[in-house]
């Protein structure tokens, strides 16, 4: 790969540009749209030129939407807060539950270990709707209906298997002797786990956590069915711009831009770990 001809480098450049164009054009378009009024969005034909307005953002942030039908209250910032709360707590819980379990499957061969591991992974197999239908009944009965706790619990179905799968592989690739060395030196199991195993698996944990965060953040169906308006995340909340008197595309665009920002920030922050963290572990044989 070191000896690339200029021709090949040009081809590579063109291909990367094409890839960026395909994947980023819609994002760019949404970004531009977020600075347009609805009237500008709905021009025929669509155009790149417009006088930008920040009205969409100000209305999202201040929570007041001016439409034909008058002034409406928006709970977007609250939705955003809910998304942050639900996703981060869900991922944190999934890490607290999943990392020790992943460690157990990686380090100990105990009776039923493979069965338990497979069962946990298989939670990803159950179609969300299948679980959701009776779940709303049970949640109603035990009072978890429309609570953050209930939602965070359900989100474990998304986050936990992913974290287990990736982190387990990561632990398996760390030589057990490193941990033994620490224990023999006189440290308890718990000290070894927290000071050796976890720091060493950090890239894997970070990468798995980030992916789990993205999937939680993007969830729609669980939140739609189980959350009432004051607990719903942005994915459901952004639908509030679909009003009987028209769809507020500008605001939806601004909402998407704002809703992507926290995850993007997290990804940039975790960039160092992302590729490294996925490269050992799960994915490997």
């Amino acid at each position: 790969m070191e000896h690339t001809s200029p021709f090949e480098r040009i081809i590579r450049g063109v291909l990367i540009a094409a890839v960026l164009l395909f994947f980023l054009f819609p994002i760019l378009w949404i970004f531009l749209m977020s600075f347009q009024t609805n009237e500008q969005v709905l021009r025929i034909p669509p155009s790149l030129f417009f006088s930008p307005t920040t009205i969409n953002y100000t209305s999202l942030v201040t929570g007041k939407l001016q439409t034909a039908a008058g002034s409406l209250d928006l709970a977007f910032m609250r939705n955003l807060g809910n998304s942050v709360l639900l996703s981060s707590v869900s991922v944190a819980l999934a890490l607290v539950l999943g990392v020790p379990a992943a460690y157990a499957f990686a380090r100990f061969k105990f009776p039923l270990s493979e069965d338990i591991a497979f069962t946990l992974l298989s939670f990803r197999f159950a179609p969300p709707l299948l679980v959701l239908l009776p779940l709303s009944l049970y949640f109603q009965a035990i009072g978890l209906d429309d609570t953050y706790i209930g939602l965070i619990w359900v989100y474990q179905l998304i986050a936990l298997p992913l974290i287990l799968w990736i982190v387990r592989g990561y632990f398996e690739d760390i030589s057990p002797d490193i941990e033994y060395a620490y224990r023999i030196a006189g440290h308890s199991w718990l000290q070894t786990f927290t000071r050796i195993a976890i720091p060493l698996a950090r890239p894997g944990i970070a990468a798995a956590g980030l992916l789990a965060f993205i999937f939680c953040w993007n969830n729609f169906v669980f939140a739609l069915i189980l959350a009432s308006a004051d607990k719903q995340p942005v994915t459901v909340g952004a639908l509030a711009f679909v009003t009987a008197s028209g769809i507020q595309y500008g605001q939806i665009a601004a909402a998407i831009v704002l809703s992507v920002t926290p995850t993007l920030a997290l990804a940039l922050f975790a960039q160092r770990y992302l590729v490294e963290g996925l490269s050992l572990g799960a994915v490997k044989g």
């Binding site: 057990p176 002797d177 490193i178 060395a181 620490y182 224990r183 000290q191 050796i196 720091p199 060493l200």
Partner: protein, 363 residues
């Protein structure tokens, strides 16, 4: 007081029984080399003692205390793994200090001890480096330093020189015994290199087929291996084994090798007709153009000069190939062709072919 006492340890895996009753007693300050071919369970034994693997049966006493069921952190041993197993996220200093932090030593004590052991092992200049910035030799010394830093009464070393280059291995072989002795610890040293075992160990415990076949001081083992398997493990080239059936004559015991009749030591007169194996170390064979009493005719097939010796491949008249070695490489006249080989009957080893046990030839 025995520092290490192993009582009939057994351990098996799905693939089969690895240890079938291993017992050993090691005294304070003693270096015992656990030696054996690869895959025989030497590492498993160390792991059992360290407490990171669980016994099937048996008992382990360390410093007089039954630790059979004790978790590893309470056993008070120092260990160096073959693959070093350094903590990749800690500096060499922290790696070495890790054994001290566990016992709540103060920062200044840790610093003093780490620097002392680092100085002994000549790695003071790399203490602030992370393992990935260390050379293999430095890693190996760091691992050793870590095992020794807390002045453990018992040190377990798992083939620590295996993954370092030849030059360093040679150096360390010279340095290690004094270093270990200075620490005053009882050392179990696992190796699969007989020279290393002989250079380092006060005693060598030879692990063969899940048991200690012999535990003895290096010269004793070399000269008087308990069995064929032990004899085979020591020496390079390895010992020649020639099947014989001694006969008692009026002059004492004799046997036939390649058509010639050769005298044996007196004691073998008692074993006429039994199938025995005659064990001849290559260096105890004398090859000459001249026929002499008790010599037997051979064909020199190949002459391989090594640095400090010359190895000859011989073939007896009944087709058996044996090695002989001669000190030095000066004898350039040695050519392939017919010759005669002779050995000192008093130094020859004789084994029972069926059991493999050595038949005591001399005191």
């Amino acid at each position: 007081m025995a520092q290490i006492e192993l009582r009939s340890l057994t351990k098996s895996y799905k693939t089969g029984k690895v240890l079938k009753g291993v017992s050993l007693v090691a005294e304070q300050g003693e270096i015992v080399c656990v030696f054996g071919p690869s895959g025989v369970g030497k590492t498993v034994l160390l792991r059992l003692i360290a407490g990171v693997e669980e016994l099937d049966a048996g008992a382990i006493f360390l410093e007089g205390r039954d630790v059979t069921d004790a978790p590893p952190e309470t056993r008070g041993v120092g260990i160096a793994f073959q693959n070093f197993a350094l903590f990749p996220h800690m500096t060499a200093f922290d790696n070495i200090g890790s054994a001290l932090t566990a016992h709540g030593a103060s920062a200044s004590i840790i610093k003093a001890k780490v620097e002392k052991v680092a100085a002994l092992l000549k790695i003071t200049h790399v203490l602030s480096h992370l393992p990935r910035a260390l050379s293999n030799g430095q890693k190996q010394r760091t691992a050793l330093a870590r095992a020794l830093a807390a002045d453990p009464k018992i040190v377990l070393l798992d083939d620590p020189l295996r993954n370092v280059d030849a030059k360093l291995r040679y150096e360390m072989r010279l340095e290690l015994p004094s270093l270990l002795r200075a620490s005053g610890a009882t050392v179990l040293y696992v190796t699969q290199d007989y020279k290393e075992a002989m250079a380092i160990g006060d005693r060598i415990a030879v692990l063969v087929d899940g048991r200690f076949e012999q535990i003895a001081a290096p010269p004793a083992i070399y000269r008087g291996p308990a069995s064929v398997s032990v004899a085979r493990l020591f020496g390079d080239p390895s010992i020649n084994l020639i099947p014989i059936k001694p006969k008692a004559t009026k002059d004492g015991a004799v046997c036939e090798i390649g058509g010639a009749t050769v005298s044996l030591a007196e004691i073998h007169a008692a074993t006429p007709g039994r199938s025995l194996l005659l064990g001849l170390r290559p260096e105890s064979l004398n090859v000459s153009d001249q026929q002499a009493p008790d010599s037997f005719p051979v064909e020199v097939m190949a002459v391989t000069p090594l640095n400090e010796k010359t190895v000859l491949l011989l073939r007896t008249h009944d087709g058996q190939e044996i090695f002989a070695s001669e000190a030095g490489v000066e004898n350039e006249t040695r050519q392939p062709g017919p010759a005669f080989a002779r050995f000192d009957a008093t130094r020859a080893l004789v084994f029972d072919e069926a059991s493999g046990a050595r038949i005591e030839g001399r005191a």
